[in-house]
Structure formats: structure tokens, C-alpha cells
Symmetry: C2
Subunit: 278 residues, 2 copies
């Protein structure tokens, strides 16, 4: 019997790279295992990347996810600083990504979601303790990313406050439940925390997501809600863009709403005093 490990490599919603064009990392217990696995996966994947052990294969996946988790946290940390300095971080990122080498754009948002990035890095943090080692970047990234829904709540509160309203009793529509644009995946989605935090403060929260006509109860949530129609946005004290699905007409949403809190830069290019960007 042979044992190999080959980690998942996914980018949900990315249609630019076909599954079989994603190189497949395999690490076997011994060369024979690696060779067998490579032969098997070669039938599906154009490129197989053999590594020396299952541990190296797992660490590869972890590094890929830690890289994303840390870089998202980095821009999430810089976002509030830029806001205080009167600088639009999205303008900064768009300018930086014109650099033809040595830069990779990440964007701030309402928090991490999905089944990998918010979770996997902490497998390593946990394992590291057995080696008397503290993974400080992972811990800091976790702390900052986990705090983002609280930051969004704070921005909703500020924007309502400017209109002399409290969160308590305000009607709020959360746009987008999925953790990422144009997908129907709710796992670890920050929208769930954004909804929960607003409810705790006394807001009357609705949601809209074309990918979720209704949402019941899951491991992380107990919503029992139906996706609200978008035909009467003026009734809401605030509309909060948590997921920037591409099917939304953001210009129309801004026009019809009293207040739009935008956590995704979805309203880029739209000038309106109704928009509170965060």
C-alpha cells in the first residue's frame, strides 16, 4: 500500500484557469508512492509537481493560503489608516499594481471567507506550538481579519450617526451573503457576522443575494431569512454592500437608497454624498 498527499488548489469563481491547467502538487511516503500518484494525476492534470514528502505538500498549500491571509490582512490594516489620512486606499492599490514587477494587488474588505483562507493558516499556528514556535504573522492576520466585520459595524454606525440616526431601530439591508463575488458559497462569510453584529445592536436587518433566495440555519448562523427584493431600497436607513456580486447595478442602488455603506469599492467611480466607503 502507498500513501500520498495532494492538497486542493482552488480559486472559486475563477473561470480563467481550467482545473486541469492548475499544477497538482503531490508528496508521497516514498518515491514509489510519489511516482504512482504522479502517473495517476497526469491523466487529469497537465502538470504534476512532485515534492519530497506529504509534509512538504501540505506546507505548500499552507504557504499559499497564509500568503493570501496575511496580504489581505495587510491592506485591511492599512485601510483605516488611509481613511484617517484622507487617502483612498483603492486608488493607491490601483496605482501600485501598475508596477510591472514585485507587486501583487490585494484588496481590503469586510473580512475573510471561504473554507481555506480563514481556517488553514491556523492549522500551522496550532502545529507550531508543538515545536515551541509562535507564528506571529498568522496570528496578527487572524486578529485583523477577524476584526473587519466589527470595523464595518463601526462604519455603519458612523454613517447613520451623521444622519442623526442610531443603529438601534434602523432598517438595514445587507447586499450579498456569499463570501466572495459571484459564487454561492456561504462558508465563513463575513456577511453572517455583519448581520449578527447589527442585530445585537438592535438594527432590523434584511439581506439580498441572488445566489441565496433564502437562508436557514447552519453551523455558524441561524438566520431563517428570505432574500429581500431590491424594488424598494428607499425604505432602508442603510444599504450595506458586503459582497460585490457583478449582477448588481450599483449606480441604481445608490440612486434609490438613502445611504450606501460600501465595503468592497463596488461604487468606484460613482460620486454621491449617499456613499460611505469603508
Amino acid at each position: 500500500m502507498h500513501v500520498v498527499f495532494s492538497p486542493e488548489r482552488e480559486d472559486p469563481g475563477n473561470d480563467l484557469v481550467a482545473r486541469h491547467d492548475i499544477p497538482k502538487v503531490v508528496g508521497g511516503c516514498g518515491p514509489a508512492a510519489s511516482e504512482l500518484a504522479a502517473a495517476m494525476y497526469s491523466a487529469i492534470f497537465h502538470t504534476v509537481v512532485p515534492v519530497s514528502t506529504p509534509a512538504v505538500a501540505e506546507m505548500t498549500k499552507l504557504l499559499e493560503n497564509i500568503y493570501r491571509c496575511v496580504n489581505i490582512a495587510l491592506v485591511n490594516e492599512l485601510k483605516p489608516l488611509c481613511m484617517r489620512m484622507g487617502i483612498d486606499i483603492y486608488e493607491v492599490i490601483d496605482a501600485a499594481k501598475t508596477k510591472p514587477f514585485g507587486f501583487h494587488a490585494f484588496y481590503p474588505g469586510p473580512g475573510l471567507g471561504g473554507h481555506c483562507i480563514p481556517i488553514d493558516p491556523f492549522y500551522l499556528s496550532s502545529k507550531a506550538k508543538e515545536f515551541d514556535f509562535r507564528t506571529r504573522f498568522i496570528e496578527l492576520a487572524g486578529e485583523i481579519n477577524t476584526a473587519m466585520p466589527y470595523f464595518v459595524l463601526d462604519r455603519i454606525g458612523s454613517a447613520l450617526n451623521e444622519r442623526s440616526k442610531a443603529i438601534k431601530g434602523s432598517k438595514v439591508l445587507v447586499l450579498g451573503l456569499a463570501y466572495k463575488r459571484d459564487i454561492d458559497d456561504l462558508r465563513e462569510s463575513p456577511s453572517l457576522t455583519v448581520i449578527e453584529l447589527q442585530r445585537e445592536k438592535g438594527a432590523v436587518v434584511s439581506y439580498n443575494d441572488p445566489y441565496f433566495p433564502s437562508v436557514g440555519r447552519g453551523r455558524q448562523y441561524d438566520l431563517n431569512m428570505i432574500s429581500a427584493p431590491l424594488d424598494d431600497l428607499a425604505q432602508f436607513d442603510a444599504v450595506v454592500i458586503v459582497t460585490d456580486h457583478s449582477t448588481y447595478d450599483y449606480r441604481a442602488i445608490v440612486e434609490q437608497s438613502q445611504l450606501v455603506v460600501d465595503t468592497r469599492n463596488a461604487t468606484k467611480g460613482i460620486q454621491s454624498p449617499k456613499i460611505a466607503r469603508c
Copy 2:
């Protein structure tokens, strides 16, 4: 009079991108200033990227450098963990960089060097304090990257110790003074700290660098040394690769040395009990 700011965008030693192909970010005090600057720079650069203010232009440069500083620190943090776990982090990075999206490879090393990455991020840390804001990623990155020469010293001490030698009195050759491969720039180079730390411990330190036949006194160093020839490597208790210049014949260096401490994975693919990788 008009005022604009346009940050430097450099990659010393990178001959793949011509200077005029690096898009030029310009931020003017007012649209007229930006337009004038864009017109002027268009005579030199193929692409000019106008941003709304000088502050955005400066933050663009800072983000580019912070991104590098943080990502280098991230792999520098993971390197000792991988070593304890018996995993070759370079194998992990090489496997991870086969991912066709969402990953950008950075490599661990003996510490940061150059006139930008080790310095610029702290301009923002300092400025952030005026806004009651702490840039924790930059601080953590600084702490980890600054500690790397101490980590190298520790590895030299361990490797000598395995051979029942102390650092004190050992003859050590530092290979490479420049902060980066194939360039003649000494600014903020970690090799300077590596040399200093070894001397403090009582090592007799020499160096070799084809780009620096001799080195005198600078703001950060007072060496007054001459580049040692490579014709008698066996005389050194340890040869420490700090800068992986491509002119070095690493196989010959390993063959002729008693012990090689490799901080750059320059001896990749060479199997020898003389090599201590770090």
C-alpha cells in the same frame, strides 16, 4: 508654480524591464500640476499613471515597499519553523510558485538590504502615530527582518559547535557584501551586521565580494578590509554565503571549504555534509 510628487520605482539588478517601461506614478497639487508632470514624464516613460494627490503617490510607493518588506518577513518567520519541522522551505516555495494564480514567491534570507525596503515602511509607521494608529504588520516585519542576521549568527554557531568549535577564534569568510545578488550596493546590507556580530563573538572575519575589492568606512560600518581571494578556502572554519552572486562557483566552494553556511539556498541541488542551510 506647480508642485508634483513622483516616487522612485526601481529593481536594482533587474535587466528584464527597461526603465522607460516602468509606469511612472505622478501626483500633483492640483490637476494642472499633474497634467504638466504627466506631459513631461511622457517624453521618457511609456506609461504615466496620474493619481489625485502627492500623498496618494507617496502611499503608492510605500505600499509597494511595505508589501515586499512584509512578505520577506513572512517567509523569514516561517523558515525557522520549517527547519524545526524538518521541511525545506525552499522546496515548499518552489512548489507553491507553480500555482498559476494568487501566489507570489518571496525567499527567506539573511535580512533586508537596500535603500528602500528596510527603511521606507517606517516612514509610514512614524506618520501613523500622528493619527493615533499603529502599523502592526510593518512593526512585526521590521522586528523579524532585523533579527535575521542574529539568526544567521546562531546558525554559524550551531554549525561550528557540531564540529566542536566555538565562534571565538574561528576563521570565517563571508561571501558577498552587497545587499542583493549581482549588484554593487552596500546600503543597509545584512552582511555588515553578520560581520559585526561575528566579530563581537570573537570570530576572525574575512570577506569576499567581486563587486567590492575593498571596503572602508561608511555610515553603518568601519571595516577597512580587502576582499580575500578564494584560492585557499580550506583555511576557514566556516564560509558563510550572505549574498548569492551568480559569479560564484558554489560547487567548487563547497568542495574546497570545511563548512558552508548557506543563507540564500545558493547551494541548492548540492548534496554535502559540509553544508549547513539556513
